[in-house]
């Protein structure tokens, strides 16, 4: 049986209710319609020119996304006034088939 190739997707990291927040979901493409575990990792860019891991979230969900079928990761912003820094997320699934992963583009957010 040929290995199937699912897709992952995620929204750009954004500030919501005083936190940096990102969501991840998946599409089955040519894979069976089943649940899988979506994990999203949040990263912030530091002055040493590297991405630092900040937080993660996972959910066992059906394909397609939406509020009932996404994983969310959040990081509470520091004390105002906020500095601006780059943020991005990595969305990953290990199954079905080949699994999949994707980074969202870096976004400069005021979430010091």
């Amino acid at each position: 049986m040929a290995t199937c190739t699912p897709y992952v997707a995620g929204d750009y990291v954004h500030v919501s209710s005083g936190s940096a927040s990102g969501h991840g979901w998946w599409y089955r493409n040519n894979c069976p319609n089943q649940k899988t575990t979506v994990t999203i990792y949040l990263y912030e860019f530091y002055s040493d020119n590297t991405w630092h891991y900040k937080s993660q979230g996972s959910a066992y969900v059906w394909p397609g996304g939406g509020s009932a079928n996404w994983a969310n990761a959040r990081w509470v912003c520091g004390v105002p006034p906020y500095g601006t820094a780059g943020w991005r997320s990595l969305i990953s699934i290990h199954s079905p088939g080949t699994g999949a992963s994707a980074y969202t583009p870096a976004r400069n957010l005021a979430c010091g």
């Binding site: 997707a9 929204d11 750009y12 599409y27 939406g66 009932a68 583009p105």
Partner: protein, 131 residues
Amino acid sequence: MEMMLAMKPTNASPATVVSLGAWGDVSEGSSGGTSCNVREFALLSDGREITLLDDRGWTSSAPLGEVSLAHVVRNVYNAVLPDDAEETGEEHEWQRFEQRLREAGVAVSQHDLRAMPYRIAFSVPGGWQAG
């Protein structure tokens, strides 16, 4: 006795919201996938367009040449969902929309905004489509 009425300039017909929508700018992602910047807006009766939310977007591992129209539209809807949509069931940031429109001089209730038609349009490299 003759009375003088105070006069001041006023709008002949204040603008109203006629529809809501999202504009997506689809492009090839940096690692072979697809990305899309998303901007939500309100279209007014006087032709103006008011930006309601412009800090959202999405990325998919699906290559641009393989991503389906349904996939693009679904991702736009997912990207504009409020963070607390699990609890509220809301599909858009109605409170923020109402505030942005009030700041632009347009009085409209969240109830009325929910009843507005909502359209998604997007550009793709080499052309554009509406969904």
